[in-house]
């Protein structure tokens, strides 16, 4: 196990080095993702700034809590953009074009390589920006967190980043069986866009089932924020963990079975 981890670490180091060399060829586009996503979350902040200039609270949340939510979603998105988004996004093309053959013949997990071969250091400033938004939100909300609250928040953040990653891989694993997953990606984009703007506290009834269990984007930034606010009930926490575990299992299963189903370029 330790030997395998050491080997994987060496592979990752090499992938990062190759990627850096490649990115340096296109310096102008280096910070592109930072500016694009930075503008997206800046727009979010302006939108909720405008809403909160007319209302005091949205449900139980004031402006500080909402800024914290936006910052947390931005952080999950930034980590994805920096490390795995661009790699996983290419999976459907690799399956359709038969390029996955190259990954299967290498002495390293194909998913590990696909995940990290397109890392984007240009998105790292987005992580710093998200942390600033979170800090500002916490200040506006009047939160002075203890070390254990921060640890709990970070723990939930890790779980939700894993869930985000699972959803990305799961949706693209469909290409092992179908010619295209374009509609699913469209659904993913739509659900993500909606849940980026709306915290999970706004969902109820059928909307809660859809956005907290079937397409659990509604949980992603909400649970970490609720944990640091001390609003997270143990039932909700258990539900969140169960959803994350279920999607991790489902993704692992879909990927493994998908690889068995893969027939090179004819897939």
């Amino acid at each position: 196990m330790r030997k395998r981890m050491k080997k994987n670490f060496r592979v990752l180091r090499e992938l990062f080095r190759i990627r850096f060399q490649h990115l340096m060829l296109f310096r102008l586009g280096f910070f592109g993702p930072f500016f694009v996503d930075g503008s997206l979350f800046a727009v979010q902040l302006m939108v909720f700034g405008a809403v909160y200039s007319n209302v005091d609270r949205i449900g139980a949340w004031g402006e500080g809590e909402m800024i914290l939510f936006i910052g947390t979603f931005s952080l999950i998105n930034a980590v994805g953009m920096a490390f795995y988004f661009f790699g996983i996004r290419q999976v459907p093309d690799k399956i359709r074009g038969g390029e996955l053959d190259l990954y299967l013949t290498k002495p390293v997990s194909p998913l590990l390589r696909l995940t990290f071969e397109q890392i984007n250091p240009g998105s790292l400033p987005l992580i710093a920006m998200s942390l600033c938004i979170i800090g500002y939100g916490a200040r506006r909300a009047g939160i002075v967190p203890h070390a254990e609250d921060v640890l709990l928040y970070l723990g939930w953040l890790a779980v939700m980043i894993a869930l985000h990653y699972d959803m990305m891989v799961l949706i693209r694993s469909v290409c092992f069986y179908l010619v295209t997953n374009a509609r699913l990606e469209q659904l993913e984009d739509t659900a993500l866009e909606l849940c980026m703007k709306l915290p999970g506290i706004a969902f109820y009834g059928i909307y809660r089932i859809v956005f907290c269990f079937l397409l659990p984007y509604g949980l992603m930034a909400t649970l970490p924020v609720q944990s640091i606010l001390g609003e997270l009930k143990w039932q909700t926490a258990l539900q969140g963990l169960a959803v994350a575990a279920a999607f991790t299992g489902l993704t692992a299963c879909a990927w493994k079975r998908g690889l068995r189903h893969y027939n090179s370029a004819s897939s």
Binding site: L28, G29, G32, F35, V36, S39, L40, V43, M46, V47, A50, V51, S53, N54, V55, R57, I58, G59, R183, Q186, L187, T190, A191, E193, L194, K197, L198, I201, A202, F203, Y207
Partner: protein, 272 residues
């Protein structure tokens, strides 16, 4: 002169008709695009639903007035399909196939306007249907103006707004001749346009100074003001709005002419 005008009109009408027919090849896209407009309405329904539980009015909007605004602004923003023009021009300049448009026996910008007209004509009925379904599904007491003059002003403003967006996207597309890579800028533009056209939240929620500033920009008149007019608000802004938007269209056309004349010789047909 008259024969020339008729022949020119026929060419652009044909271009619009071809692009309208081309949409039929992507029927599933049409249906799914229509279905996914629900996300905007759902966002409004859930966000404003939770806010209006605690109050009756926000910035002069009631709950149903707010949802009516979102239905109309979502309908109008779905009609605004010119975003692809800048991407298409940019990609073709970069891979050296922009010649396809240069050899057309018509003005390139005119072709893109005709193309947009054809696509909008195709989507009009579907977007209308989607809006009607969402009104029914979310049980919205739909607020709509009853004044024919205001409706006519709003319709004219929508047409001018669509023309302005085609001009803007055409202009951004041809900037590839100078800057070579504009895709990042286009994505940032999309994020900002969603905010300043009032499709995320009504601009009336912003502070008065911001709204005053936005009134000087053309984006205020693309989606926001027509939506407000059609929900029976801001009728006093209709005439000045039409004038401001027309001035912006004229000014942008001048800039396009200068830019095109200056940079078109840089296109060498072999890509970047």
């Amino acid at each position: 002169m008259r024969a020339e005008f008729i022949s020119g009109y026929r060419k652009y009408r044909e271009a619009a008709a071809v692009n309208l027919k081309a949409q039929l090849a992507w029927r599933a896209d049409v249906v799914f695009n229509m279905l996914f407009t629900i996300s905007k309405i759902l966002f409004a329904y859930l966000l404003w639903g939770i806010i209006f539980r605690q109050r009756d009015a926000v910035a002069g909007f009631t709950f149903h007035g707010m949802l009516s605004y979102y239905i109309i602004s979502s309908f109008l923003s779905q009609l605004e399909l010119s975003g692809g023009i800048s991407g298409e021009i940019s990609a073709r300049i970069r891979n050296g196939t922009f010649s396809k448009y240069m050899v057309l026996p018509m003005n390139i910008q005119g072709y893109f306007i005709a193309m947009e007209a054809g696509v909008v004509a195709f989507y009009l009925a579907f977007d209308f249907l989607a809006a009607a379904v969402w009104v029914f599904l979310f049980r919205i007491r739909f607020a709509f103006t009853g004044e024919p003059l205001v409706m006519a002003c709003a319709a004219l403003m929508v047409l001018l707004g669509l023309l302005f967006m085609v001009q803007l996207n055409f202009y951004l597309g041809i900037l590839t001749l100078k800057y070579q890579e504009i895709s990042t800028f286009l994505m940032i533009k999309n994020n900002l346009v969603a905010l300043v056209t009032g499709t995320i939240v009504p601009l009336a929620l912003f502070p008065e100074t911001v709204v005053k500033l936005m009134r000087c920009l053309p984006f205020y008149y693309v989606t926001y003001l027509p939506s407000m007019l059609l929900t029976g608000r801001c009728r006093e802004e209709a005439a000045p709005g039409l004038l401001i938007l027309a001035v912006w269209c004229g000014a942008l056309q001048l800039v396009i002419g200068i830019t095109w004349k200056k940079y078109r010789k840089r296109y060498d047909g072999v890509g970047i």
